[in-house]
Symmetry: C2
Subunit: 321 residues, 2 copies
């Protein structure tokens, strides 16, 4: 028995033919190169065709296809809303993929849901029934496991954690991104650094650039490592926000683990001990002692494994019925 797992990101689509225990028989990776609408769907369709062919050649019976999308999936309509893929406002991805799936059932979920499923299957949430994945990339979202099941909310937009209110004095800048995302996402780190540079004409450190709009979160972390004071201010503030958010998840959900992942963690993994220390100040003390705060150990593979786990779970569900 095999499954096909697809992790569609904003810049590339990763796909794999997988065994029931996560072994990878065949892997496909395709850049999206600013394609839009149906062209992105065609990339995935090609990957599915190739992997079905590979399964045939290897003698593997594909029982389900799992797809992780960078946005929200509406299961009632079979439509995807993905803000970073032009033309995917209410995109009928389910129907599109059925054209090439040769009757194999397809299951689609948001990336944040797949991240936590990936951690449950192959990462730091194995054997956990209550676990949180905080995905800190361009934006911030959370995949949440409650008593072994993914939290969806009434219309599949649960986990919109970028909007977590953490800083009582409201600022107009929060209107577009949410408070937590404004300060502590990848874009947020760069944004806060740029604002600080612009308001400090006497600063001539590593983040003073001819074009300040080119500063990235990676630049900020590099400058922090080199001892740049402005970068240290930015990162220390982000650590406060990350710690407060982790604390809130711990106090509300009483989980076994809170996992930090996404592009920023990554290089920000080294801040985990400081995040733990910050979270300890804020969280309910017993719940804090019972919870781990960790960086993802499967990193950028969390979405792919999550798509695989999604397919497996649906197969199991079908077997039970």
């Amino acid at each position: 028995m095999a499954i096909i797992a697809i992790d569609l990101g904003g810049t590339k689509s990763s796909a794999a033919l997988m065994s029931h225990n996560g072994g990878i028989y065949n892997r496909q990776k395709t850049e999206i190169c600013k394609k839009s609408g149906p062209a992105v769907s065609e990339i995935i369709q090609k990957q599915i065709k190739k992997l079905i062919q590979a399964a045939k050649e290897g003698g593997h019976h594909v029982k389900a296809i799992g797809v992780s999308v960078p946005g929200i999936f509406n299961p009632d309509k079979g439509e995807v809303w993905a803000p970073n893929i032009p033309g995917w406002t209410n995109y009928p991805l389910g129907k599109e993929l059925e054209k090439v799936s040769t009757g194999i059932p397809i299951f689609i979920e948001s990336d944040r849901t797949c991240y936590i499923l990936g951690e449950v299957w192959q990462g730091n949430a194995q054997d956990c029934r209550n676990a949180i994945f905080l995905a800190v990339g361009t934006g911030i979202g959370a995949g949440i496991l409650v008593d072994g099941k993914v939290l969806h909310g009434q219309s599949n937009i649960a986990g919109a954690t970028g909007w977590m209110a953490l800083n009582r004095i409201y600022r107009q800048e929060y209107k577009k991104f949410g408070c937590f995302e404004y300060h502590a996402s990848g874009d947020g780190l760069a944004r806060v650094a740029r604002d600080l540079v612009n308001s400090a004409p006497d600063y001539y450190g590593l983040l003073r650039r001819p074009l300040p709009e080119n500063i990235t979160s990676y630049d900020v972390i590099e400058a922090y490592d080199a001892g740049d004071n402005l970068a240290i201010t930015v990162i220390n503030q982000a650590i406060e926000y990350w710690g407060m958010a982790a604390a809130n998840y711990i106090s509300i959900f009483n989980p076994e683990v809170v996992i930090f992942g996404g592009g920023v963690f990554g290089p920000a993994q080294k801040f985990i001990p400081l995040i733990q220390k910050e979270a300890e100040r804020w969280a309910q003390p017993i719940a804090f002692r019972e919870a781990h705060i960790e960086a993802s150990k499967i990193g950028h593979e969390a979405g792919l494994y999550g798509a695989g786990k999604l397919a497996l779970m649906e197969i199991e569900k079908g077997d039970k019925e």
Copy 2:
């Protein structure tokens, strides 16, 4: 068919013999009067005996007993931890009540769990599958419904919302209560008012008392109604915190409703429109539009109806097995 519902609070125990749809056949209410340990258990035992007798006389067959406790219930050990009842650190309430229950099964849950169950059954969360009850009394706790089931966490302390981190600059005062509870619980309102009075020697308004430690949250709300500036400052700040907390629940859980209850709501019900306005600034916009923010309409009966619903749910579970 009938059930027995018991709502144990810090100062009294309310008990009722109920029909399957919440009709009340018989009601018992006993003050606890600073009793401790086994004496409190005896009060409940007496209530159970009386209600079993009443059921017999009325020809009702009691199928289950539900009990709401002001603390945490550990179902593995059958023990209750209730900080406001002296001697109830790990109190074996389950076994104690079995002495008088004549074989009728007993189910115990924390008050915050019962509050949300009460709202699902008879209050503002009917037909909801994702709903939050924010209990704002002496302290702050939350009962959380996820996809039709109560959120417990790994060790039954989920919903410790008094610890929600909402104000980035950490203060030592948060260590004992948590940030949200420090500022916006019933005790918090009084505490903040007292601190302001003490630091304003020129203030001679309604909250200037010979013994400032006697100021209560009700006094603060009364003074607000009378236009007292210091009280207005305290309440406006609390509205910010209540709105931020509601927003966080909306962004994370994507629920149908967030219900404010507990002793403070009560008199603070009139602030709901202001809390909605504050929450709107912070919450994920789509999730906000989909969620109601309301005051409990069953008020101080939420725990009693919740204990009843708990009993009913367990009967249904048993019937299915």
